[in-house]
Amino acid sequence: MQYDVLHTYTTSTRERPLEQRRELDRFLDSVQKRAFRMAEIATGNREDAFDILQDAMYRFVEKYSTRNFAEWMPLFHTVLQNRIRDWYRRESVRNRFRVWFGQSADEQEPDSMENLADGQMRTPEQQLQNRQGMEVLDQAIRKLPIRQQQAFMLRVFEGMDVAQTARAMNCTTGSVKTHYSRAIHTLREKLGGH
Protein backbone atom coordinates (compact mmCIF):
# COMPACT_ATOMS: atom_id res chain seq x y z
CA MET A 1 0.00 0.00 0.00
CA GLN A 2 1.19 3.50 -0.80
CA TYR A 3 0.94 4.61 2.81
CA ASP A 4 3.19 1.78 3.99
CA VAL A 5 5.77 2.47 1.31
CA LEU A 6 5.96 6.08 2.40
CA HIS A 7 6.71 5.03 5.95
CA THR A 8 9.99 3.51 4.83
CA TYR A 9 11.57 6.91 4.41
CA THR A 10 13.83 8.42 7.04
CA THR A 11 12.41 9.63 10.32
CA SER A 12 13.70 13.12 11.04
CA THR A 13 14.29 15.87 8.52
CA ARG A 14 15.39 18.59 10.89
CA GLU A 15 18.74 20.29 10.21
CA ARG A 16 18.95 18.97 6.66
CA PRO A 17 17.30 21.66 4.52
CA LEU A 18 18.32 20.34 1.09
CA GLU A 19 17.61 16.73 1.82
CA GLN A 20 14.43 17.78 3.57
CA ARG A 21 13.29 19.66 0.49
CA ARG A 22 13.96 16.61 -1.67
CA GLU A 23 12.00 14.41 0.73
CA LEU A 24 9.14 16.89 0.81
CA ASP A 25 9.14 16.98 -2.98
CA ARG A 26 9.08 13.17 -3.16
CA PHE A 27 6.33 12.98 -0.58
CA LEU A 28 4.12 15.59 -2.24
CA ASP A 29 4.77 14.00 -5.64
CA SER A 30 3.59 10.65 -4.28
CA VAL A 31 0.34 12.04 -2.87
CA GLN A 32 -0.58 14.81 -5.31
CA LYS A 33 -2.67 12.81 -7.80
CA ARG A 34 -4.75 11.09 -5.15
CA ALA A 35 -5.15 14.31 -3.19
CA PHE A 36 -6.19 16.16 -6.33
CA ARG A 37 -8.79 13.51 -7.18
CA MET A 38 -10.17 13.65 -3.64
CA ALA A 39 -10.47 17.44 -3.85
CA GLU A 40 -12.01 17.15 -7.31
CA ILE A 41 -14.58 14.62 -6.10
CA ALA A 42 -15.40 16.79 -3.08
CA THR A 43 -15.79 20.02 -5.04
CA GLY A 44 -16.84 18.81 -8.47
CA ASN A 45 -14.61 21.50 -9.93
CA ARG A 46 -11.10 21.03 -11.31
CA GLU A 47 -9.94 24.60 -10.77
CA ASP A 48 -11.16 24.63 -7.18
CA ALA A 49 -9.42 21.30 -6.65
CA PHE A 50 -6.12 22.75 -7.93
CA ASP A 51 -6.50 25.76 -5.63
CA ILE A 52 -7.31 23.61 -2.62
CA LEU A 53 -4.36 21.33 -3.26
CA GLN A 54 -1.89 24.17 -3.74
CA ASP A 55 -3.07 25.79 -0.53
CA ALA A 56 -2.88 22.47 1.31
CA MET A 57 0.66 21.80 0.04
CA TYR A 58 1.81 25.28 0.98
CA ARG A 59 0.36 25.11 4.48
CA PHE A 60 1.68 21.60 5.01
CA VAL A 61 5.23 22.57 4.02
CA GLU A 62 5.09 25.76 6.05
CA LYS A 63 3.74 24.21 9.24
CA TYR A 64 4.69 20.56 9.33
CA SER A 65 7.75 19.97 7.16
CA THR A 66 10.02 19.67 10.19
CA ARG A 67 7.85 17.01 11.78
CA ASN A 68 8.73 13.35 11.81
CA PHE A 69 8.19 11.74 8.42
CA ALA A 70 5.82 9.14 9.85
CA GLU A 71 3.44 11.99 10.69
CA TRP A 72 3.46 13.55 7.24
CA MET A 73 0.68 11.50 5.67
CA PRO A 74 -1.97 12.05 8.38
CA LEU A 75 -0.91 15.70 8.78
CA PHE A 76 -1.13 16.33 5.05
CA HIS A 77 -4.60 14.84 4.96
CA THR A 78 -5.61 16.90 7.99
CA VAL A 79 -4.58 20.06 6.14
CA LEU A 80 -6.24 18.91 2.91
CA GLN A 81 -9.51 18.01 4.61
CA ASN A 82 -9.54 21.36 6.43
CA ARG A 83 -9.11 23.16 3.09
CA ILE A 84 -11.97 21.14 1.60
CA ARG A 85 -14.16 21.95 4.60
CA ASP A 86 -13.37 25.65 4.24
CA TRP A 87 -14.39 25.41 0.58
CA TYR A 88 -17.71 23.85 1.63
CA ARG A 89 -18.38 26.68 4.08
CA ARG A 90 -17.76 29.27 1.40
CA GLU A 91 -19.95 27.38 -1.05
CA SER A 92 -22.81 27.13 1.44
CA VAL A 93 -22.70 30.91 1.88
CA ARG A 94 -22.70 31.38 -1.91
CA ASN A 95 -25.64 29.00 -2.23
CA ARG A 96 -27.57 31.01 0.35
CA PHE A 97 -27.03 34.12 -1.76
CA ARG A 98 -28.25 32.24 -4.83
CA VAL A 99 -31.41 31.24 -2.97
CA TRP A 100 -31.99 34.83 -1.86
CA PHE A 101 -31.74 35.97 -5.46
CA GLY A 102 -34.44 33.47 -6.39
CA GLN A 103 -32.18 30.85 -7.93
CA SER A 104 -32.20 27.43 -6.32
CA ALA A 105 -28.83 25.78 -5.80
CA ASP A 106 -30.29 22.60 -7.28
CA GLU A 107 -31.13 24.47 -10.49
CA GLN A 108 -27.46 25.21 -10.89
CA GLU A 109 -26.52 21.55 -10.98
CA PRO A 110 -29.02 19.12 -12.43
CA ASP A 111 -28.84 15.67 -10.92
CA SER A 112 -26.81 14.18 -13.72
CA MET A 113 -26.00 11.13 -11.63
CA GLU A 114 -29.60 9.98 -11.69
CA ASN A 115 -29.86 10.64 -15.42
CA LEU A 116 -26.62 8.88 -16.17
CA ALA A 117 -27.44 5.84 -14.08
CA ASP A 118 -30.90 5.43 -15.55
CA GLY A 119 -29.95 6.18 -19.14
CA GLN A 120 -27.11 3.71 -19.47
CA MET A 121 -29.12 0.56 -18.76
CA ARG A 122 -26.16 -1.05 -17.02
CA THR A 123 -25.80 -2.74 -13.69
CA PRO A 124 -23.89 -0.78 -11.09
CA GLU A 125 -21.07 -3.37 -11.28
CA GLN A 126 -20.59 -2.70 -15.00
CA GLN A 127 -20.69 1.02 -14.42
CA LEU A 128 -17.95 0.73 -11.85
CA GLN A 129 -15.67 -0.90 -14.40
CA ASN A 130 -15.42 1.99 -16.81
CA ARG A 131 -14.78 5.67 -16.88
CA GLN A 132 -18.42 6.61 -16.57
CA GLY A 133 -18.48 4.52 -13.43
CA MET A 134 -16.02 6.95 -11.93
CA GLU A 135 -18.21 9.88 -12.84
CA VAL A 136 -21.17 8.19 -11.20
CA LEU A 137 -19.10 7.42 -8.14
CA ASP A 138 -17.75 11.00 -8.02
CA GLN A 139 -21.23 12.40 -7.96
CA ALA A 140 -22.55 9.89 -5.47
CA ILE A 141 -19.72 10.70 -3.06
CA ARG A 142 -20.14 14.42 -3.67
CA LYS A 143 -23.76 14.21 -2.57
CA LEU A 144 -22.76 12.84 0.82
CA PRO A 145 -22.43 15.23 3.75
CA ILE A 146 -18.86 16.50 3.96
CA ARG A 147 -17.90 14.49 7.06
CA GLN A 148 -19.18 11.27 5.51
CA GLN A 149 -17.24 12.05 2.34
CA GLN A 150 -14.06 12.57 4.29
CA ALA A 151 -14.47 9.42 6.37
CA PHE A 152 -15.24 7.36 3.28
CA MET A 153 -12.42 8.67 1.10
CA LEU A 154 -9.77 8.48 3.79
CA ARG A 155 -10.77 4.98 4.84
CA VAL A 156 -11.36 3.49 1.38
CA PHE A 157 -9.13 5.48 -0.98
CA GLU A 158 -6.21 6.13 1.34
CA GLY A 159 -6.53 2.93 3.34
CA MET A 160 -6.30 4.76 6.66
CA ASP A 161 -7.47 3.01 9.79
CA VAL A 162 -10.09 4.52 12.10
CA ALA A 163 -7.55 6.22 14.37
CA GLN A 164 -5.62 7.81 11.49
CA THR A 165 -8.87 8.98 9.91
CA ALA A 166 -10.02 10.46 13.21
CA ARG A 167 -6.78 12.38 13.47
CA ALA A 168 -7.02 13.66 9.90
CA MET A 169 -10.63 14.71 10.48
CA ASN A 170 -10.02 16.17 13.96
CA CYS A 171 -12.76 14.08 15.52
CA THR A 172 -13.25 10.98 17.63
CA THR A 173 -12.93 7.42 16.37
CA GLY A 174 -16.61 6.94 17.21
CA SER A 175 -17.57 9.77 14.87
CA VAL A 176 -15.46 8.27 12.11
CA LYS A 177 -17.20 4.91 12.48
CA THR A 178 -20.62 6.59 12.35
CA HIS A 179 -19.80 8.75 9.32
CA TYR A 180 -18.19 5.85 7.50
CA SER A 181 -21.08 3.49 8.17
CA ARG A 182 -23.65 6.03 6.96
CA ALA A 183 -21.56 6.76 3.87
CA ILE A 184 -21.34 3.09 2.94
CA HIS A 185 -25.07 2.65 3.48
CA THR A 186 -25.98 5.65 1.31
CA LEU A 187 -23.52 4.80 -1.46
CA ARG A 188 -24.65 1.22 -1.65
CA GLU A 189 -28.23 2.38 -1.93
CA LYS A 190 -27.35 4.83 -4.70
CA LEU A 191 -24.91 2.66 -6.58
CA GLY A 192 -26.79 -0.59 -6.03
CA GLY A 193 -23.98 -2.33 -4.24
CA HIS A 194 -26.25 -4.89 -2.61
Binding site: F50, V61, M134, V156, H194
Partner: protein, 114 residues
Protein backbone atom coordinates in the same frame (compact mmCIF):
# COMPACT_ATOMS: atom_id res chain seq x y z
CA UNK B 1 -20.99 -11.93 8.11
CA UNK B 2 -22.49 -11.92 4.64
CA UNK B 3 -23.27 -8.23 5.02
CA UNK B 4 -19.67 -7.56 6.05
CA UNK B 5 -18.28 -9.43 3.07
CA UNK B 6 -20.54 -7.54 0.73
CA UNK B 7 -19.43 -4.26 2.27
CA UNK B 8 -15.82 -5.28 1.71
CA UNK B 9 -16.50 -6.25 -1.90
CA UNK B 10 -18.26 -2.97 -2.45
CA UNK B 11 -15.41 -0.89 -1.03
CA UNK B 12 -12.88 -2.97 -2.99
CA UNK B 13 -14.74 -2.20 -6.21
CA UNK B 14 -14.99 1.47 -5.36
CA UNK B 15 -11.29 1.63 -4.53
CA UNK B 16 -10.44 -0.15 -7.76
CA UNK B 17 -12.39 2.44 -9.76
CA UNK B 18 -10.68 5.24 -7.85
CA UNK B 19 -7.22 3.74 -8.46
CA UNK B 20 -8.00 3.43 -12.17
CA UNK B 21 -8.97 7.08 -12.27
CA UNK B 22 -5.59 7.95 -10.72
CA UNK B 23 -3.81 6.03 -13.45
CA UNK B 24 -5.87 7.84 -16.07
CA UNK B 25 -4.95 11.33 -14.90
CA UNK B 26 -3.88 13.10 -18.07
CA UNK B 27 -0.49 14.67 -18.77
CA UNK B 28 -1.78 18.22 -18.60
CA UNK B 29 -3.16 17.65 -15.11
CA UNK B 30 0.12 16.07 -13.98
CA UNK B 31 2.00 19.06 -15.35
CA UNK B 32 -0.21 21.44 -13.42
CA UNK B 33 0.15 19.35 -10.28
CA UNK B 34 3.94 19.43 -10.59
CA UNK B 35 3.76 23.15 -11.09
CA UNK B 36 1.67 23.86 -8.01
CA UNK B 37 3.87 21.50 -5.97
CA UNK B 38 6.96 23.49 -6.94
CA UNK B 39 5.24 26.79 -6.20
CA UNK B 40 4.11 25.54 -2.78
CA UNK B 41 7.57 24.18 -1.96
CA UNK B 42 9.45 27.28 -3.12
CA UNK B 43 7.12 29.73 -1.42
CA UNK B 44 6.75 27.88 1.86
CA UNK B 45 10.40 26.84 2.24
CA UNK B 46 11.49 30.34 1.24
CA UNK B 47 9.36 31.75 4.01
CA UNK B 48 10.54 29.19 6.52
CA UNK B 49 14.18 30.12 5.87
CA UNK B 50 13.65 32.94 8.35
CA UNK B 51 14.98 30.51 10.97
CA UNK B 52 18.47 31.40 9.65
CA UNK B 53 18.06 34.79 11.32
CA UNK B 54 16.94 33.36 14.66
CA UNK B 55 20.51 33.15 16.19
CA UNK B 56 21.27 36.74 15.18
CA UNK B 57 17.97 37.86 16.63
CA UNK B 58 18.60 35.98 19.85
CA UNK B 59 22.08 37.53 20.15
CA UNK B 60 20.69 41.01 19.58
CA UNK B 61 17.95 40.43 22.16
CA UNK B 62 20.47 39.13 24.71
CA UNK B 63 22.77 42.12 24.13
CA UNK B 64 19.88 44.51 24.55
CA UNK B 65 18.84 42.78 27.76
CA UNK B 66 22.39 43.08 29.18
CA UNK B 67 22.58 46.77 28.27
CA UNK B 68 19.20 47.50 29.87
CA UNK B 69 20.18 45.53 32.99
CA UNK B 70 23.44 47.49 33.34
CA UNK B 71 21.69 50.81 32.90
CA UNK B 72 19.15 49.92 35.56
CA UNK B 73 21.87 48.77 37.98
CA UNK B 74 23.80 51.97 37.38
CA UNK B 75 20.70 54.03 38.00
CA UNK B 76 20.00 52.20 41.26
CA UNK B 77 23.49 52.83 42.68
CA UNK B 78 23.40 56.42 41.48
CA UNK B 79 20.04 56.98 43.05
CA UNK B 80 21.34 55.54 46.39
CA UNK B 81 24.18 58.05 46.47
CA UNK B 82 21.81 60.79 45.57
CA UNK B 83 19.56 59.80 48.47
CA UNK B 84 22.49 60.07 50.93
CA UNK B 85 23.44 63.46 49.52
CA UNK B 86 19.90 64.68 49.85
CA UNK B 87 19.80 63.49 53.47
CA UNK B 88 22.94 65.50 54.30
CA UNK B 89 21.81 68.58 52.44
CA UNK B 90 18.34 68.57 53.89
CA UNK B 91 19.51 67.86 57.46
CA UNK B 92 18.91 70.52 60.09
CA UNK B 93 22.54 70.24 61.29
CA UNK B 94 25.11 72.48 59.74
CA UNK B 95 27.72 71.18 57.35
CA UNK B 96 30.36 71.64 60.09
CA UNK B 97 28.70 68.76 61.94
CA UNK B 98 29.33 66.40 59.03
CA UNK B 99 32.89 67.67 58.51
CA UNK B 100 33.73 66.79 62.16
CA UNK B 101 31.77 63.56 62.16
CA UNK B 102 34.81 61.43 63.10
CA UNK B 103 35.48 63.62 66.10
CA UNK B 104 31.90 63.18 67.36
CA UNK B 105 32.15 59.37 66.93
CA UNK B 106 35.42 59.39 68.96
CA UNK B 107 33.77 61.58 71.60
CA UNK B 108 30.84 59.26 71.88
CA UNK B 109 33.14 56.22 72.28
CA UNK B 110 35.25 58.09 74.89
CA UNK B 111 32.23 59.12 76.96
CA UNK B 112 30.85 55.59 76.88
CA UNK B 113 34.13 54.05 78.00
CA UNK B 114 34.59 56.49 80.90
Amino acid sequence: MIGKKTDQQFTDEVKSVFDQSIEQVDAETVLRLNNIRNIALNTATGKSRHWIFYPAGAFAAASLAIIIFNVIQHDVSTSTIKAEDIEIISAADGLDFYENLEFYWWLEDYETST
